[in-house]
Structures are given as C-alpha cells and as structure tokens.
Amino acid sequence: MTQALLALLASAVFAGDEGKLYPLAADVVVDGMIIVADAPSEHGDASIDVVWEAAGRRFIFSEPARSGQHAYDPRSQPSWRGRAAIVATNIKEHAELKYPSLADEIDIFLAPEHLQPSTVNLLQGHRLLDGSWDRLLLLLAVVSALALVALTRRPALALLAGFAIAWVALDVRTMCDHAATISTVEKQGGRMPVLADAIAFAEQAVARIGSGSWSLDPSLDTDLLAAHYFGYAFAEKRRDAANADFVIARAPGQGEVIHAQGPYVLIQRLAP
C-alpha cells in the first residue's frame, strides 16, 4: 500500500488525531511483531504510543520513550493478535512495524524500569524472548538446582543455590535499572516524569504566596498527583479553602494570574 493511501486510511480511522498519529501499516497480522522507533531526544519523558484498529475496536499500547532507536514490544497485550486494519504510532519518522531480530529482543530486555509515580507501588518488570523475565529466572533457578542436585545429591541445598544464582541475575538486572534511572534523570537535568511542571511551578509560587493563604482550585481534581505535590510544597503556608489569598489552578479564573508554569497558574484573588 502506498504511503498516500496509508495516510488516507489513517485519517479516516483516526479522525481527530491527525498530526498526533502516523500510520505504520494497514491490513496486517500483528502476531509476533514489534515496533522499532527512533524517538528524538526532545521527546523527553513522553511515551511511545502504538494505536491499532481491529474488529472495529481501537487499542492502544504505551511505553516510555527511550531516546534513539529502540524496540518496543506490544506482544504481551492480549489484543495484539490477529489482523489489524491499521497500525499507527505517535513517532513521526523512523518507526517500523517488524518481526524482532535477536538484537531487538536484547534491546527489549534492556529497556529499563522507568521511574514513574507508580514505581513505589509496583514495578513493570522486563521481558526476554517474548516471555516474562521472572519466569525465565524461575527456569534458571530450577535448572541450576537440578544440575546441583546431580552433583551434590542434596536437594535442599541445591534448591537454595539455584535460587541464589537466579537472584544474582535479578540483582544485576536491577542494578542496570538503577544506573539507567540515574542516567535518564541526570540527562534531563533532574526533571521528574509527570511532575516536572508542578515542581517548577511550586518552587516559584511559594515565594509569591509569602505570608498569604492558598487553596487548590477544583480544576486540579483531574491532576491529583500535582495537587498532592502542591499540598506538600505549600504545607508551611496557611491553607484556606474558603477565602484564600491565592488559588492554584489549571486555568485562569477570578483574579490576577501572577505566575504560570506549564498548565498551572497562581491566581491572586482580588480584594472585595
């Protein structure tokens, strides 16, 4: 299918998302395929989005973008099966739908655990050869244990040693994740995913609030993490839900906007 026809089909399927999604392929069986994309460095902490339409339904797979050419793996998604009418991604250039090579599989395995607000609750884990890394660790533990049983004839000790070997492999992988996290955050100048604008906003706003009182506008109800960050950052300033001198919001409201950063504004309430 020519690029022109592909673009036409994409515009029909993803009406309203023009300029955000770029077609990769149409009428394709996606089983076992991955995306290789070259995310520009200014893609920052955004994600690679892969959107496809199959059986009249639209599906999306997102993964944090890594700067440079990397493989992204939707194979773990139950919906990444069968024939897709169209597959698109938010990377404008240098994105490809393909079957993975060994180098791609290794690249997928090396994708680091990304620091994000949910990291404290659960980890995303890793995949190797289209399988969970943890199941491979279990296999490593069992195989090592069986080999050691044959050598030592002591099942309990062999099982312990087998798990220790697998745990060493896990730990090495974890240390690589730590190194990648440090590298990513330092390269972005300490910019934290999702909260970067809120943190920068709060650093400036706290001085402007001074000895005044503050409150949060209901528009922040859809941005709870930022709202909680502001609650922490301004905890030493008087909070007054009813008659605050300053309001933090996501859109200008009644009063004078005296500071803005990203989507956040600091509004000084006008005196009655």
Binding site: T119, N121, L138, A141, L157, W167, L170, H228, R239
Partner: protein, 431 residues
C-alpha cells in the same frame, strides 16, 4: 549539609536512648546484634513520647524537648550504677562472600542516597500521608488538634487515622535543623533499610552460626527490587518491615519485653502493624514462651503502645476509613497468586519462600520454635488475605496499589522464618 547533620544527630540521640533503655532493662551482656534493636527502640520511644505530649497540648518543639529531661535522668542513673554496656562483638575479618554482599548493599544505599540528593519528594502517599503531614506538623500552620477544624491532624482527611512514627520523627528533625527539606523528608528510609538487613543478618547468624547462610539471607532481602526504591520513597512500609523483623529477631533471642515493644512499634509505624504483625507475633510469643511470665513480658511490651491506642480511642480514629464492611471477593486468591507470585514486583521471591517452607515444613513442625514461626507466618498470611480478600482494600489488590508494599513489609520476617526452616532441614538431613 545542615539536614544531614540534623538527621545524624537525631539518629544518634535515638540510638543512645534505645541503648540506655536496653541497658536498664537487662543484666545479660548486650552484643552488636542489639544495635539495630536499640536504634529502632529509641525511634519508637522518643516519637511516641513526643506525640503523646503534643496531644496534651504542647507544640512540637516543646513536646520534643520534654524528652531530653527523662533521657538525661536515665542516662545519669545508668552511668552512675555502671549499667551502660559496650556492645560485645567478636566479628572476624570479612570473607569474600561478605565483601560481595557489602558491595550489593552499598549499591542499594548509593542509589537511595542519589535519590535523596538529586530528586525531589515524588511519590503520592509521601506527599500526603507521611511527609506532607509531617511538614504541616513542623510548621504548625496546617495542623490542628481541634476535631471541628478542617485542618484536624493535617488537611488530608484520609490519613487522620494513620499512626505517626515517621511523621513525628521527620518533623522533629526539621525542628532540629530549623527548616524543612526533601532530604529529611525521606532519609529515615535508608536507616530502616539498613536496620532491617542488620536484623536479618544477626537473627540468621544466631540460629545457624553460619556466616555464609546469614549473608545469603541478607542478600535475598536486600536485592528485592522494591527495597531500594522504598529506602528513599518517604513511605512507612519499610519502617514496618524493619520493626517487624527486629521484633522477630528479639523473639528468637527470647527477649520477650523487647520483642513486644518492637512489635508495638509496627503498629506505631503503620496501621498494618496492628492488624497483621502484632497478632502474628503475639501468637508466636505465646507458642515460644516457656513460662507465662515470658508471654506476659511480651504483652507488657505491646502495651507500650497504649498512649497511641488511647488517643485513637478517644478521637475515634479507626484503623482505616470504611473498613467496617466485610465483603468476600471471589477472585482475590487468584489475583494474589497472579500479582504476588507471578508478577515482576517481587519476582520469584515468594515462590522461593513457598518452596523453602514446603521443603522444610516437617523440620519446622518438629521444632517448638519452628512451629511458632510457622504460626507467625501463617497468621500474617491469613491477615493479609482477610484484608485484601474480604474488605474494601480489595481494590488495592486489584489495581496493585498497595499489595506489593504489604508484601514488602512481610518480606524480611518471611525470609528469616524460611531460613530457619531450611537450616533445620540442613542440620537434620543425613549428609
């Protein structure tokens, strides 16, 4: 720099307090294995005291200062009566596997320290329930003891029932430093991480007398991927983990009073301690105790939490909001298996624990202490299942918002119990 000095000074004060209390409460020699217990004991006692005085109406700086007089008095008393002991330790030079262990633990600590130095406070509950409330308490502005005030116990209505160990500790540290920052908002996590590892080391070394086995046990706990994140996250789950394993270690040393106090500490760090750890450790103590006096000493230790329980009762602070209803969630067991045993957050840790217990179950059951430890672990598991399978906390299992943190709390105690079982198995099997 000021924060680091303040944190160090606060820790030193707590360690001294805990050490003096240990010296006063026992006549047997104290060894290096009591050091982590002393630190945790000091943090528990000092923050509980301060909090109790705050609820009597004194502002934080004065409440914290009232601790200094009794500390000075008991220190002088202990000194005059020659009760202060130096920890006895007969550690040989580190072996090659201990150097490897040291390297991996150092990596985790370095990663945590990097987070503390280079990233802001970032995770949600730390911003609200823990360091957010702590900062409000420190400033005294968005904090009220008036139940009618919207700022009653901080402005987060969902966290009012949360206990205050880390909240008070961080606020006190800020008072010591004269200001708040994101370092002291989270630094205690590293302390709890190291205290947990030290408790595991000493507990396993005590019953196995095998340094390689103790090193392996510490490695299994330290390398659990979530540990390094929680060492600098600003949450209290790692505090519960440290206190729980220190309590278990004290139980294994048959130090009943200390075990009871540290068990109470889990309830002072987070409500999970009241529901999961205190009942389990109480049952374990009852089964381990040779006489009713030992069990009574454990209960006496638990009773040290009375001031907080009284405050909770008077102010009608429950264990958690809307937890009164029990609702059976049919798929809870399946979700637990899927998320905990097969998910990436704990990796193969719990599969390993389960296999270790399967292999060593008979050896454990034949041993009085082993039976008690099985009951401890079984009770913890049962309580966890009831919480996540039979209450509205099910949603935190379904969305994995809390379950892995609860498993982190249990991880060190489970590892020590599994290690005990495996050692019994090794020593009872024919070579």
């Amino acid at each position: 720099m000021i924060s680091a000095l303040g944190i160090g000074a606060h820790l030193a004060l707590d360690a001294w307090l805990g050490w003096v209390l240990l010296c006063l409460s026992r006549r047997r020699p104290l060894t290096a294995e009591h050091v982590p217990s002393a630190l945790l004991l000091g943090m528990y006692a000092e923050t509980l005291w301060t909090c109790s005085v705050i609820f009597l109406g004194l502002p934080l700086p004065w409440a914290a200062a009232t601790m200094l007089l009794p500390l000075a008095l008991i220190s002088v008393y202990a000194w005059q009566h020659r009760l202060i002991q130096r920890p006895v330790s007969a550690m040989a030079a580190p072996r090659w596997y201990e150097w490897l262990l040291f390297a991996t633990v150092l990596e985790k600590v370095a990663f945590a320290l990097w987070q503390l130095a280079r990233t802001p406070l970032y995770f949600d509950d730390a911003l609200t329930h823990w360091s957010g409330r702590s900062r409000a308490l420190f400033a005294g502005i968005n904090w009220s003891l008036d139940p009618a005030s919207p700022l009653w116990l901080g402005y987060d209505p969902y966290a009012r029932h949360y206990p205050l160990l880390t909240v008070v500790w961080r606020a006190e540290t800020a008072c010591l430093c004269g200001r708040w920052d994101d370092l002291l908002a989270r630094a205690d996590g590293v302390v709890f991480f190291l205290a947990a590892l030290a408790s595991v080391w000493f507990a396993v070394l005590r019953f196995s007398q095998a340094r390689w086995f103790a090193a392996l046990a510490v490695f299994f706990v330290a390398a659990l991927p979530l540990q390094a994140w929680h060492a600098a996250a600003g949450y209290s789950d790692i505090a519960v983990e440290a206190l729980a394993v220190a309590a278990l270690a004290a139980l294994l040393r048959q130090e009943w009073l200390l075990a009871g106090v540290l068990a109470a500490g889990t309830g002072w760090a987070k409500n999970d301690g009241l529901v999961i750890f205190m009942p389990a450790l109480l049952l374990g103590a009852w089964l381990c105790a040779a006489t009713w006096r030992d069990a009574l000493r454990f209960l006496l230790g638990c009773a040290s939490l009375a001031p907080w329980l009284l405050i909770k009762s008077v102010l009608a602070l429950g264990v958690a909001p809307n937890q009164e209803r029990f609702v059976w969630h049919r798929d809870a067991f399946g979700l637990l298996i899927q998320h905990v045993f097969l998910g990436p957050t704990s990796s193969i840790f719990w599969i390993g624990i389960a296999l270790a217990l399967l292999l060593s179950g008979r050896a454990l059951w034949r041993d009085q202490t082993g039976r008690a430890l099985l009951v401890v672990l079984g009770t913890q598991a049962t309580c966890l299942f009831v919480v996540y399978g039979c209450t509205e906390s099910y949603r935190w299992l379904a969305n994995e918002g809390t379950i892995h943190r609860s498993m982190l709390q249990v991880s060190a105690t489970a590892l020590v119990i599994a290690a005990y079982g495996m050692w019994r198995r090794f020593t009872s099997s024919p070579s």
